[in-house]
């Protein structure tokens, strides 16, 4: 599949009908999804035939893209039933092999960490999510923690940490983070003992999604990151 074919197919993915600010629902633009998935597939061979997890899948943009690139299986998880309903329609429409499971990354994480701290090494496995084994590839566009009053600070790292603990020793995680946090992400990667490799900086045009946003459009700079456990030999 060519780049433009993937991007064009992803244009048909329906977005959030009524985005929920408490969940920071901003749909991944098809172009950005294409860059992420094509990097994973072309440069590293991390999509075709692989077991892929789309963590916080929303209406399914990344997972459906992985399905179109012939992932072996795709599971999308999200906490929002409304988003999942739209995601299921998108999956049926795109005719890709992707299943959805409703999970709460935030609550699961807290359960997993009861009595323990999150810093230092990675949780042994799973981050409190209901899976018996790890995935080959985890893709995510995490919430960035823009709402300071919602104790959401560091939520992108919480998602990233969960993604890493659901990724097999020879697998990889692809994630987006604000470019302004680049140094911090690198440090966090070192602390967790994973390889953190920036794959490029992209301009994400957020069209006005919520009432509190004053401008009708806003550009933010995001980095595409690839993370893998140090044991992976490439």
């Amino acid at each position: 599949m060519k780049d433009w074919e993937l991007e064009q197919a992803l244009q048909d993915v329906q977005l959030f009908a009524k985005p929920k600010i408490e969940l920071e629902q901003y749909a991944t633009p098809p172009e950005l999804a294409k860059h992420m998935l094509m990097t994973a597939e072309r440069t590293y061979g991390d999509i075709e035939g692989k077991c892929v997890l789309d963590l916080g899948c929303g209406t399914g943009m990344l997972g459906i893209g992985a399905g179109l690139l012939e992932a072996g299986s795709v599971v999308g998880v999200d906490v929002d039933p409304d988003a999942l309903r739209v995601a299921q329609e998108n999956i049926d429409e795109a005719e890709v092999a992707m299943d959805l499971v409703r999970c709460d990354v935030f609550a699961s994480r807290r359960r997993a960490e009861e009595g323990a701290t999150c810093d230092g090494r990675l949780a042994p496995y799973g981050g409190g999510l209901p899976f018996r084994t790890a995935f080959d590839t985890v893709v995510l566009n995490p919430p960035f923690g823009a709402n300071k009053d919602r104790q959401a600070k560091g939520i992108d790292l919480l998602f990233l940490h969960t993604a890493l603990s659901l990724c097999s020793a020879d697998g990889a995680v692809y994630s987006l983070h604000k470019s302004s946090t680049r140094d911090h992400i690198q440090q966090v990667g070192d602390k967790w003992g994973v390889r953190a490799e920036p794959q490029g900086e992209y301009v994400w045009n957020l069209s006005k999604t919520y009432k509190h946003q004053k401008k009708s459009t806003m550009d933010i700079r995001v980095d595409l990151w690839r993370f893998c456990h140090k044991s992976r030999g490439d």
């Binding site: 035939g49 077991c51 072996g72 299986s73 599971v75 906490v79 039933p81 999942l84 309903r85 299921q88 092999a97 299943d99 959805l100 499971v101 409703r102 999970c103 709460d104 609550a107 699961s108 799973g126 409190g128 999510l129 209901p130 899976f131 018996r132 084994t133």
Partner: protein, 127 residues
């Protein structure tokens, strides 16, 4: 939810596995058997989980599906019948409505519109 995802799911509370499935509605998806693909994911599959699912889904499988052997065949590539069963069980049967139950702690998780709800407080309101 297809069988492939059932094979990965464990209890949210206690990691109990495999989750028992009481299916009330299923659909058959139309997809071609890709032997290479089955062989590729085979090492990741849990055989006991497959057998449990096969038993739970009996009434929803197409006619003439051969049962799974007690253990994973040493040379799966040569076992045409088993490959067909795996393909049907993992990729073709889509569970639309039903309930998953943990074999250890008996926590129940509902499946609606093909989506298992693994969020605890709503999945187990009695607790």
């Amino acid at each position: 939810m297809r069988g492939l995802t059932h094979n990965l799911l464990a209890c949210l509370k206690c990691q109990g596995y495999p989750l028992r499935l009481a299916c009330t509605k299923a659909e058959h998806l139309d997809c071609e058997l890709d032997v290479e693909q089955i062989l590729r994911i085979h090492p990741k599959l849990d055989w006991a989980g497959l057998q449990s699912l096969f038993g739970d889904l009996k009434g929803f499988l197409e006619d003439g599906v051969v049962p799974l052997p007690d253990a994973a065949p040493a040379n799966l590539a040569a076992e045409e019948g088993v490959l067909k069963t795996l393909h049907h069980l993992l990729e073709e049967v889509k569970v639309v409505e039903g309930q998953l139950e943990c074999p250890n702690c008996q926590t129940k998780f509902q499946i609606k519109d093909a989506i298992p709800n693994m969020v605890l407080n709503e999945a187990a309101p009695s607790e």
